[in-house]
Point group: C2
Chain length 363, copies 2
């Protein structure tokens, strides 16, 4: 009798472990392959008090459209890479976000764009920085990944490659938006006033002003990104940005840096970051989150929290990430008042959020 009891417990344990392992595979309860997608449109000092209802609606509409577009691709069995590119294209084409159309201006009144993409299955990656005539930089990053032996190309060189690949070039005028241009004027006026009253180098003042002027500060963080898991169990991540208002010195931020702004690895997770680029490079943020999962046995939320709630603020930086693990779990983690974001999780439920109070920080 005792042996029988023992045997029953044993069988129960085996059955339970089977259920657990099914739960952790890329199949949901009905044995359908899991898929999910999450996007961001930048983190920063985004406050409800500074936002009109109509602008808020406009942001939510584009975020919803972008996340649905990628999700539609995934639901039809498309790849995570295709979904990432399609979702980011919608954000790049919207003047609301600092990527593609709507990119901020450099000190020289030009628009310079950066993007990167990574395939979690092959660990292949592509990135471009400082391009001025590419409508959708994420598409060029993908071409660098798939059609060249290189990972990272810069400026006119990257554009020469784009031409060889049949990309059409757009004029700088394409990127012009009145609001971004006025923003540059404000930053430069503030910088000139600051320079006149101080011995601080202008570029340092620009950084300092950002602390006091929420609109200036928010401009640092306007980056878009996407992470996705497809039905094949492949993860991908992509990030696209117009960089920093009043940028000079050929500054490169974290968005085009594999490991900092973007990382994907089927073993662990996919990450796209949006933050104060310098701190995100120093923290090797996207790879650090992955490494904590791969080597430290952390789960997704613990990893994103360790980096965004602790490491980056301790360095003095801020921003956020979206991350997705190989099971389709999503983490939306930021230490700023807001982050434009949306997700459609493995159950098919869509949520869109802007402020910290919106329920999306932790699933």
């Amino acid at each position: 009798m005792k042996i029988f009891k023992f045997f029953s417990i044993f069988l129960f344990l085996i059955a339970f472990s089977c259920v657990s392992s099914t739960k952790n595979s890329n199949f949901d309860k009905e044995n359908q392959p899991k898929f999910a997608i999450a996007i961001h449109g930048g983190a920063g000092t985004i406050l409800k008090s500074q936002m009109s209802d109509s602008l808020e609606s406009a942001y939510k509409e584009v975020l919803s459209k972008a996340v649905r577009e990628g999700h539609e691709i995934l639901s039809k069995g498309g790849s995570a890479l295709d979904a990432v590119v399609a979702s980011i294209n919608i954000l790049e084409d919207s003047p609301l976000f600092n990527a593609g159309k709507g990119a901020v201006f450099t000190q020289d009144q030009t628009n310079e764009l950066d993007a990167s993409i990574m395939d979690g299955a092959s660990l292949n990656a592509g990135a471009v920085a400082g391009v001025k005539h590419i409508k959708n930089p994420i598409n060029l990053a993908r071409s660098v990944m798939e059609k060249s032996p290189h990972v990272f190309m810069y400026g006119t060189g990257a554009e020469a490659f784009a031409k060889e690949q049949g990309f059409s070039m757009v004029d700088q005028d394409y990127f012009f938006t009145q609001s971004r241009f006025e923003h540059l004027m404000r930053v430069q006026d503030a910088e000139n006033n600051a320079s006149a009253s101080s011995q601080d180098p202008a570029h340092l003042m620009n950084e300092k002003l950002a602390f006091y002027d929420p609109i200036l500060k928010a401009s640092k963080f306007g980056t878009v990104g996407c992470v996705a898991l497809d039905k094949e169990g492949n993860l991908a991540a992509g990030t696209s940005t117009g960089g920093m208002t009043n940028k000079r010195f050929g500054r490169i931020g974290d968005a085009p840096i594999i490991g900092a702004g973007t990382y994907a690895n089927n073993k662990s997770c996919a990450v796209s970051a949006t933050g104060w680029g310098e701190y995100f490079i120093r923290g090797v943020v996207a790879h650090d989150i992955s490494a904590m999962i791969e080597y430290g046995g952390f789960n997704l939320e613990k990893s994103t929290s360790a980096v965004i709630d602790k490491k980056i603020p301790e360095l003095g930086g801020d921003g956020g990430v979206i991350a997705m693990d190989k099971y389709g779990n999503i983490s939306m983690r930021f230490n700023t008042p807001g982050m434009y974001r949306a997700q459609i999780d493995t159950s098919g439920a869509m949520t869109v959020g802007i402020y910290k109070s919106d329920t999306l920080l932790t699933k």
Copy 2:
């Protein structure tokens, strides 16, 4: 009596743990603070059969001079950052290495230089890429780190910053070496011949040729770097390179990428890489080695081996790293026939190596 015995064991365990912890601190047996330094001058298809005795002596002489220079600074209580810069300067100034003077040529017959540096104490970092008129790019990377709010600057923008910082500009002629120029001619001839007989894009052929021509292949890997631990227990790492022969499309390799070519963190280790840049970016090599130590509990040798002997070859790449942990242990790990390298360990013993057979792979 029993209690007494138990108490003795308890005391012994306490004493033992004290000894262990002393062993792991930055002090050696005589309670002197430990310090150490290691450098590399590139990994690749470096074969004794292709090297004259006089050339071998010349390499060893510069390597010895460079490692001694940094060690001298450390021994006087100087910082790891100062030692890294001083050692790299000697390698940059030598025409034997593909960094500074002696940099390889791009497709357009220019020399474009990249460098990065990281301070393990503060996790501050600086990097430049695509600069054409800076004699010692590692010095500019350090200025980016210390004198700007940025981490990474590119090309003419980086040079504008350099001018503001009082760097003198050198003509492109400064970087000319006959052997590197002839090397470019050979690569371009080979590429033209390949293009004439194949439909493959020329830039892909260049990559493929590198597999068959050891001299072409070796040219990919000419990068210099240094890691150091100072008496304060601070780690630093730096890397400097002339990039890839016949480079085009504004290609950026791993050398200026924090996390890929260079990483330092007092919690774990300092790393400088020299390899096929694209694979080292995809592997986020320098940070990966650090993360395995920090999160996975690996020791230095296990971490460098996991990356260089397994992960990178599995992706299809090759190259090497020098790494130093917070105790001053040194790892020189490469999967190529050779790596120019030298070290002075915590005991003060200097060793210089070139080929795999030289005893320096594993301490």
